[in-house]
Amino acid sequence: MTVETKLPYDQEYIRSFSENQNEPNWMTDLRIQSLQLADNLEMPKPDKTSIKRWNFHDFKHDVEGGEISSLEELPEDIQVFLDMKAKNENLLIQRNQSVAYQSIASHLEEQGVIFTDIESALRDHSELVQRYYMKDAVQIDEHKLTALHTALMNGGSFVYVPKNVQVEEPLQAIFWQEDPEAASFNHVIVVAEENSSLTYVENYVSSNTEEHAVANIVTEVIAHDNAKINFGSVDNFASGTTVYVNRRGVAYRDAHIEWNLGQMNDGNTVSENITNLIGDNSYSYAKTVSVGRGNQSQNYTANIKHYGKQSEGFILQHGVMKDDASSIFNGIGKIEHGATKSNAEQESRVLMLSKGARGDANPILLIDEDDVTAGHAASVGRVDPIQLYYLMSRGISQQEAERLIIHGFLAPVVKEIPIEAVQNQLTEVIERKVY
């Protein structure tokens, strides 16, 4: 049985929503065109996970949130993502779909760095946004959810670093879904021009366990020639939110994109992380860790596509499953014809903590070129009794030994999160989810 997913949002609604935000005409048109497309497009079909009965229709679309004048006004569970003693100069806090707080260091602004919310960017940098919005990374008509995303986009951030500018400090965005029914149709664009570099970290937080909401997020990360982007995230939507999150990277010549994704949602989640290595000698390392609990169902795909010669792609996915949670981890390394001397490596591991938990790791290598190297490793299993024995033989209790092994298993992403407060927060979320 397919649940009818007719949304109460029509052309009229979308037109007035767009006009209320003072969006440029191209954006209003794009939204309406996408809404029409959505009607005739199929839902995505993630491998081995049926999403037919998932809630993609019950949510509130237009929910404002108040501004704050100082970070002290934030509730405790949002403050934990910040180093409250630091200046937090490069910070964006979105509350529901409104900007609650925004700042950028003046020396970055002077160098032409843009770090702002997506609506401001549409008003102030319309052409620049248009240049990248659903163009080189994600296409509107990939399936119904990408089209609906474009039609209903209601938040997100825009990061632009000009040529030859190195942004040393991490840029941090916090997307705080305060209203328990507020949907997040966030669009995030991160662009690093030639020879530039930046680190961006985002946090998604909600606390709806009873109420229903939907997150339909598209993130486009573009690294031009010889640019370096380090992208970190901690996703922590509560169990009431169904999540579709699409993070897509495009790396040109000599460019690097690193993903460090802590995917800690408590609701059903489809996560797609694709990186296109377009340029010669481009590089991507896509790491993700997740913890599943309760009866949530999750589907993760990490896919690196090699087009450029000597391009290198590494995928690491580690998941811990407990209770009756189930997860599919697809790791795909695709080397296109002509991408000679490329290297595609991947590792997917699932650690199962209970009888009812299900985990599946699917390593896939698709290779259309002879002169390449590739490798994969995948495993699904329980905590190794010999490792437990070794730790316990030094006096450590079984519970503490398991805790050490699980944190160690998730360490590859945790230790790469560039903001200490966010790293600590990720550790705490893991702790809370596992015990």
Partner: protein
């Protein structure tokens, strides 16, 4: 020590009158036992230093945990004494360690945990001569009236650096000959054949009857 793949079928083990076989693995360690492993596990994501601190604190009461400063000082001293690169403390436990590094790490744990009874199972296998000297130095440092150490070895070489109080020769799973340090020296010079002849043993492996 309670390895999950072994089962004790008979006999008993007492430590200060307490039945060791009734204890969980961690309780055995907390009671003062230590086993240096022949093949220590590699544990990714857990640093040697975090592991050591958890181990030390497991033998202390809650609220009486070792202070970070004191721990670092003690660890640095032990690392220096065992001529181990300080980086090891921040490397993941045994991950990518060479055979020699793993053995040194076992002795590092021994020195830091200071158990009452230690069993060193073939701690000398696969060690080059320099590593053997260092490992021996570590064991000798621990020697005192409150520390007992059972060293299992196939070679006399280790005993050039550690003078044993007692030597027991095991064949067919039993102690067949006991003596002082001079016994080990005679074994190194003459081999085991004279014991076999003396006792009428042809095959010394476990399960063979004399």
């Amino acid at each position: 020590m309670g390895h999950p793949q072994y089962e004790v079928t008979q006999g008993q083990v007492l430590l200060d009158g307490e039945d060791v076989l009734e204890m969980e693995v961690d309780e055995r360690a907390q009671a003062g036992l230590f086993l240096a492993m022949q093949y220590p596990s590699e544990i990714s994501g857990v640093t040697t230093s975090d592991f050591l601190r958890s181990s030390i604190n497991s033998r202390r009461e809650e609220g009486d945990e070792i202070s970070l400063m004191k721990f670092i000082k003690e660890m640095d001293e032990a690392l220096d004494y065992l001529e181990i690169d300080k980086n090891m403390a921040q490397r993941y436990l045994n991950e990518g360690f060479s055979g020699g590094e793993k053995k040194r790490n076992e002795i590092l744990q021994l020195m830091m945990l200071q158990p009452e009874i230690a069993i060193l199972d073939e701690i000398d296998s696969g060690l080059d001569i320099d590593a053997l000297k260092v490992v021996s130095k570590g064991i000798n440092k621990l020697r005192n009236d409150n520390f007992g150490c059972l060293i299992i070895t196939h070679y006399q070489r280790l005993l050039d650096y550690i003078t044993p109080d007692q030597v027991h020769v095991m064949m067919q799973g039993r102690v067949v000959k006991s003596g002082g340090p001079e016994l080990a020296q005679r074994l190194e010079a003459e081999g085991y054949d004279w014991i076999k002849q003396e006792l009428g043993i042809e095959d010394e492996t476990v399960g063979q009857n004399a």
